[in-house]
């Protein structure tokens, strides 16, 4: 028995040692990345004359977010396969899970997807670890890129928004091109014309007017036959997405900044006296004229409330109102008009934007085919078709925005084209590019919720700035 016990102990010890080996090996192996990264771009491997059929027979894997722009892309994929002989396999995820899925996939380094949708803010997060392919060399290589792609046709501020030097605080429009603009959204005010007419209201030209009108609608609309209607739908969930549409647009129009950059160092600026006053006013506006249960509001709720005649106004992406305004889409369709929204004290119409971009996985094994896909998806032919026959509105290309068929399609929406043309040149990313963007804006949204809940704006924002200073400084 003794011998048995001794043998068993030895066996267990040996097995434990064997089990520990992979652990130790993993420790030595580092942190999941492979160090053999080449600085040379795969774009250099493409030579000769440009040929759409160059990668015939290849399959490209795409990760897509559930969106009307995606629907328009999927509907036209057959054209791409006919043109190139490349098959596209794709997965579509709802927005709530989409970015987590993409983040986990990219950070694993597995290259499950060759191409994917992303926002320009994601470039700040995915760019520094080297997960995104720099598309600049592909764009510059005439063997890889057809002349018809016409880079100069993009609105320049959109192309620049996906270009960054990967240095915190450095302005956009310099460094690598980490994604291509594909569809975008400008943040404006959409309103219910029927309610406005009944209550004798006009779209707000100043922030004070906007707050006043929001409160007035909430007070008076139910008595005018709009049961349960409130003034203004804006996002309020504890997420970065709450900060970037209406809030950041109005914040920027007031000449305010998220951070100041001095000698490459970032300093939070959301606690300046002007920023505190603005934030307090914004929270007050939501309290007086915003939706009940605002702290759970995402763009889905904001958009559907406008369509369901629950909200008199919406200060968010123009697309969020567009999808409710088109004929037959909602009870309010045909009664939704667009307006650039309130100006800043100096008449500023600075507007924050969201760009749905397309990017390529730096670890992809099918970069050449992936680039052909990106080229096609952001090309004139597909984008024109998507804008005219699908719901891919807010064109990233000047030629599509000026296309007669596109204008004809959009003209029945009161104020849409006028608003678009008024703000297009002043629409850009109003945030300071930095890798901690999601932490900063999620915390900012939490702070906004606390102020809405009655906490002192100054102490909440000072706390936020103090916390962020150590993270981004």
């Amino acid at each position: 028995m003794d011998t048995h016990a001794h043998d068993r102990r030895r066996f267990l010890a040996l097995t434990a040692g064997a089990a520990a080996t992979p652990l130790l090996a993993a420790c030595g192996a580092g942190f999941g990345g492979d160090d053999n990264r080449s600085d040379g771009s795969a774009a250099d491997d493409v030579t000769g004359s440009f040929d759409w059929k160059r990668e015939k027979g290849t399959t490209v894997r795409a990760l897509l977010n559930k969106h009307p722009y995606t629907d328009a892309l999927i509907a036209d994929l057959k054209s791409f396969t006919e043109k190139t002989g490349i098959k596209v396999e794709y997965d579509v995820f709802p927005e709530d899970n989409y970015f987590d899925k993409l983040t986990v996939d990219l950070s694993s380094g597995r290259a499950s997807y060759d191409v994917f949708m992303l926002g320009a803010y994601m470039v700040w997060q995915y760019g520094p670890p080297g997960w995104l392919e720099d598309l600049g060399p592909w764009m510059r290589n005439s063997s890889a890129t057809g002349a018809e792609w016409d880079q100069a046709d993009f609105f320049p501020n959109l192309l620049q928004a996906d270009q960054w030097s990967l240095r915190a605080g450095a302005p956009l429009g310099q460094g690598g091109q980490y994604a291509l603009p594909w569809g975008w959204e400008t943040n404006v005010v959409a309103y219910n014309t029927e309610v406005f007419k009944k209550l004798g209201l006009k779209p707000a030209e100043t922030f004070d007017e906007l707050r006043e009108i929001s409160g007035a609608i909430k007070r008076k609309a139910p008595g005018a036959g709009y049961d349960g209607m409130y003034g203004i739908a804006v996002r309020g969930s504890r997420s970065w997405a709450t900060i970037h549409p209406g809030f950041m647009t109005m914040y920027a129009r007031n000449g305010l900044h998220d951070f100041t950059v001095n000698g490459g160092k970032l300093k939070p600026a959301m606690n300046t006296p002007e920023a505190i006053a603005f934030t307090q006013d914004w929270a007050g506006m939501v309290k007086q004229g915003g939706p009940p249960s605002w702290t759970s509001y995402t763009w889905y709720q904001c958009s559907s409330d406008l369509g369901a005649k629950k909200a008199g106004m919406l200060f968010d992406a123009d697309t969020a109102a567009y999808f409710q305004a088109v004929k037959g889409a909602s009870p309010a369709s045909g009664k939704i008009a667009f307006h650039p929204g309130p100006k800043g004290p100096d008449g500023s119409l600075a507007t924050n934007m969201w760009i749905w971009s397309l990017g390529m996985n730096a670890k992809s094994k099918r970069k050449s085919a992936g680039w052909l896909f990106l080229q096609w998806a952001t090309g004139k032919e597909h984008l024109r078709k998507a804008a005219i026959t699908g719901n891919h509105i807010d064109p990233v290309r000047k030629s599509v925005s000026q296309d007669a068929a596109y204008k004809d399609k959009m003209k029945h929406l009161p104020g849409f084209i006028e608003t678009f043309e008024t703000v297009v040149d002043q629409t850009r990313i109003q945030f300071t590019p930095q890798a901690q963007f999601f932490d900063a804006t999620t915390s900012w949204a939490a702070a906004l919720q606390e102020i809405y809940g009655g906490k002192n704006a100054k102490s909440v924002l000072n706390g936020l700035a103090g916390d962020l200073a150590s993270k981004v400084g």
């Binding site: 068993r8 652990l23 520094p128």
Partner: protein
């Protein structure tokens, strides 16, 4: 035959050994990662030893999350225990209605907690939700359930209670059905009232079963993520950011991997210690119950 007998213990131990390795390997790797400054922006990190833990413990955010986690776990486990035992006592009085209710009661357990939270989110919606609609006749139609810190926490606990009370009830019911009948018959002959019988007989004998349910629910509630995230995302402010949500935000959303794992290791230690204390207590209770029988 001899060598087979000698070999058998080693063969039998293999599944357990593989399982142990499968648990210990990622755990050990996670623990190891916490000693580094590993994030998306620093894929080749420096060894920082225990700096991540130091940062965790000196953050107000951590103590806020720890407090919210404890409040949630204690609140949810306490309410579920009381309700679960009460429901079990009602169902124990065998009747056709009781048997039907028993089947219905188990339904919330069949729904994924995240789905339950989304359903409740819709039902608690102030303007169109069914809860406020039902409360309207009582003058309570305008409650903004998740808009205040206390409301958000209580609503989250309420959803947890809705999902998991049946679990406690089923365990308690199984316990009730396994109790010996003779002490109750003797108490009835002696003319003992319901409350006296419950306090002096039912509860002490049932307690080991109840404590098993409490241990499961308390440990699970300490690790809650899905219900709160789907209902409030941790808001308003930081009022419902429990440790799991903080860890998720740090590791996945903000991609500070080492820091995020440090949060989960701290949570693991808390759950481990709490479980150890409760299990030890369960042993004592079981021994006393056995002696009483």
């Amino acid at each position: 035959m001899g060598w087979r007998l000698t070999l058998r213990p080693y063969v039998l131990i293999v599944p357990a050994l593989l399982l142990t390795c499968g648990i210990l390997y990622p755990f050990g790797l996670g623990l190891y990662y916490t000693l580094f400054d590993f994030s998306a922006s620093k894929p080749q990190p420096d060894m920082v030893r225990f700096e991540n833990y130091e940062t965790v413990f000196t953050q107000d955010a951590f103590w806020n999350s720890a407090w919210v986690t404890v409040l949630y776990a204690v609140g949810a486990a306490a309410v579920e225990t009381v309700l679960g035992v009460a429901v079990a006592l009602l169902l124990h009085r065998s009747s056709i209605v009781g048997r039907v209710l028993e089947k219905i009661l188990i339904l919330p357990l069949m729904i994924a907690p995240v789905i339950a939270a989304i359903i409740w989110k819709l039902m608690l919606q102030p303007s169109v939700g069914v809860v406020n609609h039902l409360l309207k006749p009582f003058g309570l139609g305008g409650v903004q359930w998740t808009d205040t810190p206390a409301g958000a926490l209580l609503s989250s606990i309420a959803v947890d209670v809705w999902v998991y009370t049946p679990f406690v009830a089923i365990l308690a019911l199984a316990g009730l059905r396994s109790l010996p009948t003779s002490p109750f018959e003797a108490a009835a002959v002696d003319g003992a009232g319901w409350w006296y019988t419950f306090r002096r007989l039912t509860l002490p004998m049932l307690w080991p079963y109840v404590l098993v349910a409490v241990i499961f629910r308390f440990m699970d509630s300490l690790k809650v993520f899905d219900i709160i995230y789907a209902l409030t995302e941790g808001g308003p402010g930081d009022s419902t950011v429990v440790l799991q949500i903080r860890a998720y935000l740090e590791a996945i959303r903000f991609q500070r991997y080492s820091f995020g794992i440090s949060y989960t290791i701290v949570l693991w230690a808390v759950v481990y210690l709490a479980a150890m204390v409760l299990v030890r207590h369960l042993g004592t209770i079981q021994r006393k119950a056995a002696e009483a029988k």
